[in-house]
């Protein structure tokens, strides 16, 4: 039987992973094209769509780089190919490390580094556990997603006066949980949130004063980068 390391670095695994990633990328393209067309049909101006696209592209850069940082950690344990797939499909580095650790523990290894010295079946077990353990969100969405989205959307548009109020409640509830959850972590978290808020406010003010509406496409990206960078300063204050 081949070793853990040989399978983790095998070209066959890389080819399978590339096929999986190509499938997901293809799916994204289909969704992107269909919804872009739909947005235009619904009367959303092309300029607005372009602004949303520019904002999305700039906003995505920094969080994606943080995923790459996770890739460095994960690839040392499960190889580049499987780490690449896991972080591109469903996974987040924290879950992946927990899943890999639980699989190695169930196989009787004290440390993940010890498991890396074993045979291919250990690696196969880790791959299976990581996949099965995270699959349920997608399975549930597969069966319940349409009913859930359609029911809530219908309620939002049919209930007359309460519909628009109801629509806003989901976002307010989400923020209502996220803000205290971040704030309770300490002064640096609060300061970073306030810094981001201030940057967003100042950029909006700048756009209004100068008429430089193109800046709006980069507001979230600037806010994110300055907010994150400010943590280095706030850590010295608190």
């Amino acid at each position: 039987m081949k070793s853990y390391a040989e399978i983790a670095a095998s070209p066959v695994l890389m080819v399978l992973v590339l096929a999986g990633l190509a499938f997901v990328a293809g799916l994204c393209v289909v969704f992107y094209r269909k919804t872009s067309k739909r947005a235009l049909e619904l009367g959303i101006p092309k300029e607005t769509l372009d602004a949303v696209k520019k904002n999305t592209i700039t906003l995505t850069i920094v969080p994606s780089i943080s995923i790459v940082i996770g890739l460095f950690t994960l690839s040392t344990v499960i190889g580049t190919a499987w780490a690449w797939f896991r972080l591109s499909v469903v996974g987040a580095v924290t879950y992946e490390l927990i899943a890999a650790q639980m699989a190695t523990a169930a196989l009787g290894f004290e440390e993940m580094t010890t498991a890396m010295g074993s045979d291919a079946s250990t690696f196969a077990a880790i791959m299976l556990v990581m996949s099965i353990g995270i699959i349920f969100g997608n399975v549930f969405n597969l069966f319940a997603g349409k009913a859930l989205v359609t029911t809530i959307k219908n309620a939002g548009t049919k209930q007359g006066g309460f519909g628009p109020i109801m629509n806003g409640c989901f976002m307010l509830a989400l923020m209502g949980v996220m803000l205290p959850f971040q704030a309770i972590k300490g002064g640096v978290y609060i300061a970073v949130m306030l810094t981001s808020l201030a940057v967003a406010y100042l950029m909006n003010l700048l756009i209004k004063k100068t008429g430089a509406t193109w800046l709006g496409n980069f507001t979230m990206a600037f806010t994110l980068i300055i907010g994150m960078a400010s943590s280095l300063f706030w850590l010295k204050v608190f």
């Binding site: 066959v12 695994l13 992973v17 499938f23 799916l27 994204c28 919804t35 872009s36 739909r38 947005a39 769509l49 696209k53 904002n55 999305t56 906003l59 920094v62 994606s64 995923i67 790459v68 940082i69 890739l71 460095f72 690449w84 972080l87 499909v89 987040a92 639980m102 169930a106 690696f123 196969a124 077990a125 299976l128 556990v129 099965i132 349920f136 969100g137 997603g145 989205v149 006066g161 309460f162 109020i165 109801m166 806003g168 409640c169 989901f170 976002m171 509830a173 989400l174 923020m175 209502g176 949980v177 996220m178 803000l179 959850f181 971040q182 949130m193 981001s196 967003a200 979230m220 994110l224």
Partner: protein, 238 residues
């Protein structure tokens, strides 16, 4: 209406096919490796470890789908397939809706959010691919203490930047006394955390519970005539 139903049916069909395909790759790749290299692990060991993970993640997976689907709409398929919901996909959706000036749960927000998340997912796939190619040269830079520290504060920076868009109102249609609905979940959650700090371990459940509570309060206030939609310049003063 017929057109809307036809579009909804097709987008959900694509989402379901995509989800089945993604699940197929997630489970299929490990199984293919086991078959090709004849390295099947003990199934009892795999199911033991996977079962523990499932027990941990099934409740939160269900609550995540129920909580986020109303905000994401049909984008929930691509979101749950590509993961990184809280640190990337939700902020992208919220920001896109804010820039386009659309409300959650409307056909417009559904199209805009799905387009933005599909684009964001494609970009993330590309950035991770670049990260894999540049794994060795990038590692020293992205592993510096400043970068890793700042990355730890990404979520507060993101949500701080989204505050303005979520809590301020623009456009002709607005919600009277929206501030009550905005403040309610923050106050309840804040008190909840102060009484029982362990609540922070149950973020998914808290969001789900807070959605139900906020909707209930919104409905009561709507019935009492305290919260209602109005058009700027028409009923504002009433």
């Amino acid at each position: 209406m017929q057109d809307e139903k036809k579009y909804n049916d097709s987008i959900h069909l694509i989402g379901r096919i995509g989800t089945i395909g993604a699940i197929g790759f997630m489970v299929g790749i490990p199984i293919a490796i086991c078959v090709i290299y004849n390295c099947f692990p003990s199934m009892s060991t795999v199911m033991g470890a996977a079962g523990t993970l499932l027990a941990m993640f099934i409740p939160s997976a269900i609550s995540e789908v129920i909580s986020y689907a109303p905000i994401l709409g049909s984008a929930s398929y691509i979101t749950f397939i590509t993961g990184n919901v809280m640190n990337l996909k939700l902020p992208v959706a919220i920001s896109a809706q804010s820039i386009a000036g659309v409300t959650s749960n409307t056909p417009e927000s559904d199209a805009i959010s799905t387009m933005a998340i599909a684009l964001s997912s494609l970009e993330t796939l590309a950035i991770i691919a670049v990260g894999v190619l540049l794994l060795t040269p990038l590692k020293p830079f992205l592993s510096t203490p400043a970068i890793t520290t700042a990355t730890g504060y990404m979520v507060p920076a993101l949500f701080g930047g989204l505050l303005l868009g979520v809590y301020t109102q623009s456009g002709k249609k607005r919600i009277k006394n929206k501030w009550i609905l905005a403040l309610f979940p923050i106050v309840v959650m804040g008190i909840g955390i102060l009484i029982w700090p362990k609540l922070t371990s149950y973020q998914g459940y808290c969001i789900l519970g807070m959605i139900v509570l906020t909707l209930a309060v919104a409905y009561a206030l709507y019935k009492a005539g305290i919260v209602k939609e109005y058009t700027v310049g028409e009923e504002e003063g009433k």
